[in-house]
């Protein structure tokens, strides 16, 4: 394929040049422009590899197609921006670098040609004095080895492809079948396209080629010493072009953001969970929420966590501004011990003393990621893999996957069931398409498929029906609050992180408590004490109560029988243990007290009493004061009496010895 256009250069930062070619494509030639999902197998792609993961097909069909085709023909759109990329052989990532290049002058020096192996090439006319003309410049590419992947405007692109009938996948054809009727309205138009090429992403360049190119492009550093991976430049471009566009969903922003360490760490965590569960991870992890409820797990879904929850925890750990209203990097520097790390990168522009999760150099990011991987990643992994409720759900999902594989092997699976399993274990976008196709009442088959998928997920989730609280931001963040508090209280060998085996004792002790309470644990909403503490629901602001509950269990449960692995293996001074127990018990009791007071006020008889007091007050009847005092005294008695009973039960449950 070949196309000509107007050539130019811009920079995403001083060391990162980008070539662009402004051109236009005949309407049906836009089939050569690819949304990300056509270039990469997005279900298999590592979380850190992606530029643009998902597409909002609903938005395309609902908003963009009608805008395009309201009987006025093709309306104004800025160019679709595509990047010249090469997928790796397994389609799981973008190749880090472009292939080696050869540069030469041809046609008696009238043209300069740069060949990127046999994947693509660029040609310019020269002006005879070591300069190239910007117009026309030509790009040739081999579509088998190189893709023009959309960086901006992929929703526009899919809308145009849908209207012209250029989509390939069957489910997408069904989803968009209604828009084909507008095909003729887009006859004979051209679509503006900007093609991006990255000259400092080259795998290799020979000295003579380098010398030639430096003559013609004096501002471009073609040398591989300053090269950057393609995906890194792509991310920066994507974030830049989307700054003023429609706000991407929170989940998508986390998946894309290269300038926020909490987001970078979150992707690393998800990738490592994926590595542990390569076949079922897409069923266990939610990373594609198109709404902004990115920290909630949908009821009935067999999901262990979401990218939003993990990001929220990373922000607590590395960018906390709670109580002080500003993140100055103290938490990041302390939790990674940056100021004591030998030779941590520091420069005048990016001093390590002021580094924070949103301000860092590339070198600092690299080392910060390394420290995170060594000190903190294992905490997330052990928590999400080894804590009993997550382990049970993961095992149930694995069993379902094995069952699916057996059915496939025996060739006994129906086409519908096969598709349902494929959606469960495969591409998350397919699920979205299925859900939307099911909204059309006449699509009976699709509706049945979706129902079956939900039944299947609900059945798997049923394996942990008594552990609802674990699948909330409140619990998952609360766990990390408890762990960090124990670190701060000096329980562990190191002052700023917990070692793998130390964390293992925490998980083992919690697992012991959970497995000894198959029904009615303090983590169950049906437990009356849980109800008093959490009010029967999960609220993120109650994560401190989860932290208190976890700590009380950890420093008391099975202590005297020496089954508490944390206390058995870690030397904790009795004074510290007792303080942790008492202070956290007080936190729980204070909440229970407030709940009991609210409970008392909500009793019908007491509501009537309160109304009577209010009435007397409004009538200026002085009796109201005595009545109020009596009411408060009665309430205090009620609270004290019930609190004592519940406290006894709580202490018995977690084995607190007075």
């Amino acid at each position: 394929m070949q196309i000509a256009g107007d050539f130019g250069t811009f920079f995403t930062d001083p060391t990162s040049p980008v070539f662009f070619l402004n051109t236009s494509f005949e309407i049906d030639s836009i089939k050569y422009l690819k949304p990300v999902r056509e270039v990469l197998d997005v279900a298999e792609v590592d979380f850190d590899e992606l530029v643009q993961r998902d597409l909002d097909d609903f938005r395309i069909r609902q908003d963009i197609v009608p805008y395009l085709v309201d009987n006025m023909g093709y309306k104004f759109f800025p160019p679709i921006v595509v990047a010249l990329t090469q997928p790796a052989a397994n389609r799981q990532s973008i190749k880090q670098y472009y292939p080696p290049i050869k540069a030469k002058l041809i046609e008696n020096g009238r043209k300069l040609e740069v060949e990127f192996d046999n994947a693509f090439s660029l040609t310019w006319y020269t002006n005879g004095s070591d300069q190239v003309h910007s117009l026309p410049a030509a790009l040739r590419w081999n579509p088998d080895k190189t893709h023009l992947m959309a960086v901006d405007g992929q929703h526009r692109l899919v809308a145009l492809q849908a209207v012209r009938g250029l989509l390939v996948a069957d489910n997408l054809k069904l989803f968009y079948h209604n828009v084909l009727q507008y095909k003729d309205e887009l006859d004979n138009i051209k679509v503006p396209v900007t093609i991006l090429i990255f000259p400092n992403c080259i795998q290799n360049i020979a000295a003579e080629d380098l010398a030639l190119l430096q003559r013609y492009f004096v501002k471009i550093d073609w040398a591989t010493t300053s090269r950057m991976p393609v995906k890194q430049v792509l991310r920066d471009i994507f974030v830049d072009v989307n700054k003023s566009a429609r706000q991407p969903s929170k989940a998508r922003t986390i998946l894309l953001n290269e300038k926020d360490l909490s987001a970078i760490f979150s992707r690393r965590i998800f990738s490592s969970i994926k590595d542990e569960n390569p076949t079922i991870y897409s069923a266990l992890l939610e990373y594609n929420s198109t709404t902004n409820k990115d920290t909630q797990i949908e009821k009935g879904r067999a999901i262990i966590t979401t990218i939003g929850i993990v990001y929220n925890i990373c922000q607590f750990l590395f960018a906390d501004e709670k109580g002080v209203g500003i993140d100055d990097g103290t938490t990041l520097r302390t939790r990674l011990d940056i100021l004591n790390y030998p030779e941590f990168p520091s420069s005048e522009e990016f001093p390590k003393e002021t580094m924070k999760s949103t301000e860092f150099s590339l070198e600092q990011r690299k080392i910060a990621q390394k420290i995170f991987a060594e000190k903190w990643l294992h905490v997330f992994k052990s928590f999400l893999i080894d804590l009993l409720p997550f382990k049970i759900l993961t095992d149930a999902m694995k069993a379902e996957y094995d069952k699916y594989q057996l059915l496939l092997k025996d060739l006994t699976i129906s086409a519908d069931d096969n598709e349902i399993y494929k959606i469960l274990f495969g591409n998350v976008e397919d699920r979205f398409i299925l859900e939307n196709n099911a909204k059309i009442r006449t699509n009976t088959q699709v509706i049945i498929k979706l129902r079956k998928l939900k039944e299947l997920e609900s059945r798997i989730r049923g394996s942990v029906s008594n552990h609802e609280v674990f699948y909330t931001l409140m619990f998952q963040r609360g766990f990390f609050e408890a762990v960090t508090k124990l670190i701060e209280d000096g329980l562990f060998e190191n002052s700023y992180y917990v070692k793998h085996e130390e964390l293992g004792y925490i998980i083992a002790t919690l697992n012991l408590y959970i497995s000894n309470h198959p029904k009615g644990s303090l983590f169950e909403y049906s437990n009356p004490i849980n109800n008093l503490i959490f009010g029967g629901k999960a609220s993120p602001e109650n994560s401190n109560l989860i932290a208190a509950l976890i700590t009380v269990i950890l420093v008391n449960y099975k202590r005297s029988s020496l089954q508490n692995l944390l206390l058995k293996n870690i030397e904790v001074a009795e004074g510290v243990r007792a303080r942790l127990s008492v202070t956290n018990l007080i936190i729980l009791k204070e909440k229970m007290k407030r709940s009991l007071a609210a409970e008392y006020k909500s009793l019908t008889a007491n509501k009537i009493r309160l109304s009577e007091i209010q009435l007397k007050k409004e009538q200026d009847d002085n009796d109201w004061k005595a009545m109020q005092l009596q009411f408060e005294a009665d309430m205090e008695y009620y609270v004290a009496e019930h609190l004592t009973q519940e406290e006894i039960k709580l202490k018995k449950d977690v084995e607190i010895e007075d």
Binding site: K322, V324, I326, D328, R333, T334, L339, E488, G490, S495
Partner: protein
């Protein structure tokens, strides 16, 4: 003689108070703030050593000049001294011999320079405290200083008028530390529980600061 209670001082570096101050006693007592030298201890060259010293100098210097007039009738002979910890040269009072910093630095190897910060890291409490005080609740006082510190950092980040920031910063230790350029993790809170008379606490705290005049005390 009353027994020395220095061994009752509990130390709270950032690693113990990062997410909350709940480990600090809620009761009354005496407290002091120290500089945490361990946050300056990674040195990979002598240049680093010197940079660290300069940074400490910026944080700790009083930024004041002291002077004296030697003769009023004959001619003005004003002797000015800058109160900085890091001066390029030092004159011994007895012999008048001048010792330059470069000279001393040349006699030390890199690892000996590193040792200086290693010693200081382990004995941060042996160096003068930045501030001393008495509080009805040590935990509440810690929280107050932290709040004041970040209030100033926030005002700076919001680009507020420097005069307004300075005025606000002077009100408490936390503010003064922030405006000097300290990081919160540079500080160690040390305290010991003691009974105090809540009615006279303010006056006592004022006088203790006057007696001792710590670097970040109220001027």
């Amino acid at each position: 003689m009353l027994p020395l209670k220095i061994d009752e001082f509990q130390l709270y570096p950032i690693e113990k108070t990062l997410s909350s101050s709940s480990a600090i006693p809620g009761k009354s007592g005496m407290y002091a703030w120290y500089l945490n030298f361990s946050k300056f201890s990674t040195i990979s060259s002598k240049d680093d050593f010197e940079k660290n010293i300069i940074k400490l100098d910026e944080l700790l210097t009083k930024d004041t000049l002291t002077g004296s007039v030697k003769s009023f009738f004959k001619r003005f002979n004003v002797d000015l001294n800058e109160e900085r910890i890091w001066l390029d040269q030092f004159t011994t009072t007895t012999t008048g011999k001048v010792i330059t910093v470069g000279e001393k630095l040349n006699t030390l190897t890199l690892s000996q320079c590193q040792d200086i910060f290693n010693y200081l890291s382990q004995f941060s409490m042996l160096v003068s405290p930045l501030y001393v005080g008495i509080a009805k609740s040590l935990q509440t006082r810690f929280d107050g200083h932290k709040r004041a510190f970040y209030e100033i950092k926030k005002m700076q980040a919001d680009g507020e008028d420097p005069d307004v920031i300075y005025e606000e910063a002077e009100k408490s230790f936390g503010g003064r530390a922030a405006i000097r350029g300290f990081n919160w993790e540079h500080l160690i809170f040390a305290c010991a529980e003691m009974p105090v008379d809540r009615h006279t606490i303010q006056s006592q705290e004022f006088l203790i600061n006057r007696l001792y005049s710590p670097i970040l005390g109220r001027k």
